[in-house]
Amino acid sequence: MITNLVIFAFLVGLLTGAVLVGAHSWARSLGLLMNWWKWLLSSFWYFLLLFLLFTAFTIIGEGEVAAGLKTLGFSVVLLVILGAGLARLLLTDRRRPES
């Protein structure tokens, strides 16, 4: 069990690193003027996405499929609303996108 957890944490850590590098490249490509609090807000949104997904599938795994799907539906709505706000915040102030 512990071994599985360590392997899982290692793989998720690798993926997190790749996501961070990719996010940085996307920000430069789109010409986003990122600063520390924008990175913080973006990270918060992404980890909220992971957390809510983890929560919904935990509930489904318990056998409470209907409750899990309700949680998933609520999460999508919440994340779309927050994501739209975040996108507007990031896209309003940017330089010409780099090719």
């Binding site: 069990m1 899982f8 793989l11 998720v12 993926l15 997190t16 790749a18 996501v19 961070l20 590098v21 990719g22 996010a23 940085h24 490249s25 996307w26 430069r28 490509s29 992404y46 996405l49 992971l50 997904l53 983890f54 929560t55 919904a56 599938f57 935990t58 509930i59 489904i60 795994g61 318990e62 056998g63 409470e64 209907a66 409750a67 899990g68 309700k70 949680t71």
Partner: protein, 525 residues
Amino acid sequence: MKEKPDKKEQPCSRREFFKVGGAVAAGLQLGAVAGAGLAAGKDPSTHSGWQHLGDNTQFVDRSKLIRKGPAFHIVGEPTRTLRHESAFERQGIIMKNMQQYKDMINSFDAGEERIEGRGNMEAPDPPQGPMKYPPMDAFEEPMLSWYKDRPDLYEADKVRMEEIMPRRARDSETYKEYYTLINAWSGSWSTREPITEPPEVSDFKIGQGRKIGDPMPFKSPAHASRLIKKVAHHFGATMVGITTIEPDWHYDFGLRGSRDKGSYKIPEHWKYVIAFGIPHQWEQANSNPNMASSFDAYSRSTIAARRLETFIKSLGYPARRHSPMDGYDLIGVPYLVKAGLGEQGRHGIAITPETGANFRSAYITTNLEMEIDQPIDFGVEKFCEHCQICADLCPSGSISRAPNNHEMNHRGYRHWEINQTTCYNFWMQSLGGMGCRICLIACPYSRKANWLHTMARKADTADPTLAVAKSLTYLQKSIFDAPEAQDFLPPPDGEYANFREPPEWLDVQNYLDIEARPPRKDRMP
């Protein structure tokens, strides 16, 4: 930054690679998290109370939960329970007064069963023909006066004997194939080992009637307590607590093994009570009330009690077990609270940090001097005041909807009280393993011990404002589907519903080559 001229000619720039790689990694991460969530939800090691049976005696560090004050507040003159006041014990008196049962060979008598140490027996099916409940005047004192004070319970008993039990017999026969496996499962746990001698004799005997030896001295009461808890845990107890005897919390009749079935004095060697609990098998507990049984946890706690009793006697100390299959001389819930295993909930039973309400208890009375535990407070009292999920789901309406228990006075003590008689009446309406455990399993504290519910329970315990408790209760009621209370009843009022669908191993159609007709065609497989 200017790019080198030749870089434009590359089919895939480093940045493009990172962008695509990052997007793929995000997708993989989302998939991994969803998969991990599924695994966390399914993980059988998160079945509450079954997480591990390792060296830790208890899962929760109770030292931070100790509350000030007594386990219960005395608000009147404390009295002990008389036989007719217990719905289960009263059944024996009732049957002796009913002509139809008088004619039966080996008539069932729950009170006799308990006194003879045979524990909780199921009532047999009633005899054929119409049932006629005796008029109130046919009963002798003190039951007659008690009935006159509680005519509602006379009516409830009458309904059970004239309508509910014959209907259960009929439906049990109609659907017996469908409940083949749950009946086999429930029955296989029902081993019994009667206590046939009074405490002054039986508590001092071990094995084949051999007298116990001289008591082995312990280094200190704390050492004794620590050893007993460790051993009880290895014998199968999930959580263990120790406290002192309270004479008010013992029945005032029918000491097991005693020929005198009347009132008795608490034996002098009963100085301490070891209380412990073991949860129900998780999957079948969730498919209450018809596809589940009480006897799995009854049996496990009884066997642990027999082992622990023998262990204590082997060290030279008298001991007596009080357990579901071998009977009790004491009332358990107050001892669970006083021994710090948990708090009493609205449904009248104890709620522990490890298992919620999903467990069955057993007890050992002894004179082995041990360090005692203190009552704990992890927020149950306040939580129960606003939750009411158990009261909402109780098919017999036996659980109080009062805002709190402040006005309740039960034999001199303030605590939650349910209507045991109407509760028992519903037992007799359920099929399968019989009985009802909906309040045990529907209790929010009984949810799985995975990261999600563990986090919720810890947040609730740490929050004095009740905001977390109210939010969690709202979420449970609005997100998690459950049948309506009435659905648990037999047709035509209900449909023999279960709290959750039964596990596949209790579905006869998956394993047996027989025709089985489910009582709920629209919802059962």
